[in-house]
Symmetry: C2
Subunit: 336 residues, 2 copies
């Protein structure tokens, strides 16, 4: 049977929010697999804010997606054909398979997925790069100590929701910043955050003064922009600001808004540190073990926002992230 | 004899560059000293960029100078009268005596000054808070390793000129950023910097690409603004940005220009850290020992820009800093 591989490719470098004209779609015949290779039918595509950065030509921690190339994406799929002894047909696997129906792999960078442990979407979220970003970013860079105050922005997102829960598990007072009452209620009511601030209707700076009168010890920032500036003026002495991302700035058509209050780092003797999760590859197993343990004990809850749609819907699903429409991990589930 | 204490007091909180109307002058009779007190005749006043921050009402690492109070300043003077056994008449002492002719002290925060070791101006500069800021900021926060590339902004200033020389002593490739050819020639020709960039006539970003093709490992920033942004895009992996100051922003009438390229901290897995020299008070002796040693061996040279003038000239002398007119440590020397 000749399989057809529907692909979403990058057609142009977006200015601002990605437009339909920034994408193109192609149908390719799936090639025969060689020795040591296997064919994956992609079932779940991870939708991540970082994707927007991969579309830019600027210097970054990873080369940009080339114009005309299949859009890069973490994904989970099922092995359909195999000439690789470690990846037999029927296995579920996770890897950077891209926004396409089929991917050929030689196994490098591919891990097996245990669907008895968690759903495919959870494997992309709490047990995937989102959870690992929260785990290593918060603990390794943020270094929270029990009793300290941890603030997380983008707190209802895939990374933020896990980061806040890890902070709670570590005995920290945890404050989430998110957009809208429903997300804030979910953070406090379902995920056990101590408090949440709705940046759409509340004055973040003033609320932080009330909620964290002794200052913020760790700020795990996924958002940047005005929210970063608001938290900088509330830093406690020797605070750590973890730069996980800056979703508010990724689609800016004007120059990025740098943190005008960055001199508060001096006032507070504080640090602001960036990190890239790929650097922790050798410690992924440690992170996944811990996250699995907390997931099993109920200390950490995972939430996925699974959108059942096609490869052609990917551009629309991606925009949901930037509109703040998702709660928890956003995943595109392809038809089987 | 009744001594008259001429004082420079803060009259108003400046907007932008301090204006004459932000200052007022007063003559006070010098009071009798009590038990355990001594009277200092101020001879040398340290002129520091940080003074501008002390004039603002904003939250900072030290309370603002109150309106109507004598302007805060580090200074060196001679003990004229004494009821304190440790500070006899004739000793030279260093302390936060303020912009005035006479100060009464009980000895707290006051240290003796050895004029056989270095000049009074050098005691305020390389052996004072400027040198200590360079020493602890570069070594403790920047953590340069031999062979790494260290960039210093405000490199011809009191702190920057010492920071760059300490980096050289530590076996680092050292690049200074300063304003004007004379300063740049001095950095390379006299202080042994490997290279200097004249930000007034050169493209800092492009020059850094040529001078530091493998990136900047430590950036010791005294300036902020566009120069900070230019260096951020040239950071090496795991670089450390030391926020020593931001003289380009202290007199801004518009909101501070935050570093638009701060997300390069993420790309480079880098950190940006602020510090306050007063936190190192218990280690000042260590720093002064080292700096004295390097001064004696000729590894570090000190340069002071000593302006002989009166208390009434202080406002003008302060403005020299913000016009970038000084090379090395700016000191106001009062008439004896």
């Amino acid at each position: 049977m000749q399989l057809i591989n529907r692909q979403c490719r990058l057609a142009a470098r977006p200015v601002g929010l990605p437009q339909p004209s920034d994408w193109t779609f192609a149908d390719e015949a799936v090639a025969d697999i060689g020795d040591g290779e296997f064919l994956v039918a992609v079932e779940y595509v991870s939708i991540d804010p970082a994707m927007r950065g991969w579309m830019n030509a600027a210097r970054s921690y990873i080369p940009p997606v080339e114009i005309g190339a299949v859009m890069r994406a973490a994904a989970i799929g099922r092995v359909e054909r195999s000439n690789h002894p470690d990846f037999p047909v029927g296995d579920h696997v996770s890897g950077a398979f891209g926004v396409q129906r089929y991917a050929v792999s030689d196994g490098r960078g591919v891990t097996k997925v245990d669907l008895d442990l968690a759903s495919p979407a959870a494997h992309l979220g709490v047990l995937g790069l989102s959870g690992l970003t929260a785990y290593f970013g918060l603990l390794d860079i943020g270094k929270p100590r029990p009793g300290q105050t941890v603030v997380v922005s983008g707190a209802a997102g895939a990374v933020g929701s896990i980061a806040g829960q890890i902070a709670r598990v570590h005995g920290c007072r945890t404050i989430g910043i998110a957009g809208g009452k429903a997300k804030c209620d979910w953070l406090v009511g379902d995920l056990g955050f101590d408090a949440a601030i709705d940046y759409k209707t509340e004055d973040v700076r003033r609320r932080l003064r009330d909620l964290a009168p002794d200052g913020v010890d760790v700020f795990f920032d996924n958002v940047g922009g005005d929210i970063l500036d608001a938290v900088l003026v509330r830093l406690a002495t020797h605070a750590r600001v973890v730069i996980s991302g800056a979703i508010s700035q990724y689609n800016a058509t004007e120059p990025v808004k740098g943190p005008a209050n960055y001199l508060q780092l001096l006032v507070a003797r504080a640090s602001m540190t960036g990190f890239v999760i790929f650097d922790y590859a050798k410690r992924y197993a440690e992170g996944i073990d811990k996250l699995s343990e907390w997931l099993g004990s109920g200390d950490v809850r995972s939430q996925e926002d699974v959108v059942e749609a096609t490869i052609d819907d990917f551009p629309d699903v991606l925009l949901r992230l930037f509109r703040g429409e998702n709660t928890g991990k956003l995943v595109l589930a392809l038809p089987r």
